[in-house]
């Protein structure tokens, strides 16, 4: 696996090496085209935004706009993740388990793609692909968790499903589908207790050391993100 992509190993138009061309005296340099397609590596496409080989400091450089092979694989797998989740909806029960399996599937497929794709792998291409896939997984998790466990959205859908105006107490009962806010509280507390952040002693709930650390972290994140 090659480490990085230096200007020396980037072939230019018709396979000529841009780095070598830059090393020539200015008068002997060939003029670069505004955009060039590397014929040895069809995934390398550069847009010369201004100066080409006679670039001066502070001027716009050549910008490689096409992703590498591993990055293309990651982008395709990112687009496939919601489709995979739709397919899994018919065969796997449980939203959380389904999402985890969907993520595992695209990660395995990405590793397979990195091994199986023809040509030399560049570390920055693979690392960039991994970052792109992780970005997509987080993006879809945010949307998926809102759909599956979103409190506010479920409140809205329960009010619409009731089909008539409700008082706040009736709305809470409709949200819990016959249960009460105690059921909801137990559900959320089960998460806190199960993850070791809260414990029950003598009928009272208290944060554990882990819970206190998480609470401090939450306050720090709130402060640093401008939520106060």
């Amino acid at each position: 696996m090659a480490i990085g992509r230096s200007s020396e190993d980037l072939p230019g138009r018709d396979g000529e090496v841009i780095g070598a061309d830059l090393a020539r005296p200015p008068g002997r340099r060939k003029r670069a085209m505004p955009a060039s397609l590397d014929r040895k590596n069809a995934t390398s496409y550069r847009v010369s935004t201004l100066a080409g080989p006679q670039r001066q400091p502070g001027r716009f450089a050549e910008m490689n706009m096409l992703p590498g092979p591993a990055q293309i694989a990651a982008i395709c797998l990112s687009a496939a993740l919601p489709l995979l989740l739709i397919c899994y909806a018919r065969i796997i029960r449980g939203s959380g388990r389904r999402f985890r399996l969907g993520c595992l599937s695209v990660i395995i497929l990405f590793v397979v793609a990195c091994i199986a794709l023809p040509g030399q792998r560049h570390l920055d291409d693979v690392v960039g692909g991994a970052f792109l896939l992780a970005t997509a997984i987080m993006f879809f998790y945010v949307l998926f968790s809102l759909l599956a466990w979103g409190f506010t959205l479920t409140l809205l859908t329960s009010l619409v499903q009731a089909g008539r105006p409700l008082t706040s107490e009736q709305w809470a009962a409709a949200y819990m589908q016959g249960g009460d806010l105690g059921t909801f509280t137990h559900n959320r507390l089960k998460l806190l207790i199960g993850s070791g952040m809260v414990m029950t002693t003598d009928g009272r709930l208290a944060p554990t050391a882990k819970g206190l650390a998480v609470a401090r972290l939450v306050k720090l994140v709130r402060l640093s993100t401008g939520l106060g």
Binding site: N64, M65, S95, F131, M138, A148, T152, L155, T185, L227
Partner: protein, 168 residues
Amino acid sequence: MSFVIGLIGVVIFALLAPALQLIARARAWPLAPVTLIAIAAVVSHALGVILGALLLAQFHYWDAASIFGFFVMAYVFAFGAVYKSVSLDILLGLVNRPEQSAPLSVIVEQQVPRLFQGRIDVLVDGGLVKPENSHFSPTAAGRSMAGRVGRLRHVFGIGDTGLYDFAD
């Protein structure tokens, strides 16, 4: 080096996003926090790309975009968790009490109804629900959004309870 440009974009975003939240709150801008984050992401990404094109001889856009996207999504993830998480609100409610503990009844009868009321206010302020005397009913926008959410839940095979399924 393109990754470094992506990281510089992340630093710009990490400074710009909270600054926008604070300014928006101070000046009462009618913009949702998520919209402000999106604005910060677009501006910082554009600045990063311009910087990369100016400073690097060979700027690889997707290398910079990958690391930028990753850290910005991590930020959004953390922001979403601390912004409206019921579980974390319950945890903070316990930690902030002088005795750092409370009976379950206090959580059920005082804290959760407050959270519930807070979410009702969000829906009313967002124009999705309208209060009528002591009752609440969905607006046309609320019905439309609930319909879209219902269709998406159906397609993804998600139930409509909003509760965690610990059988997972």
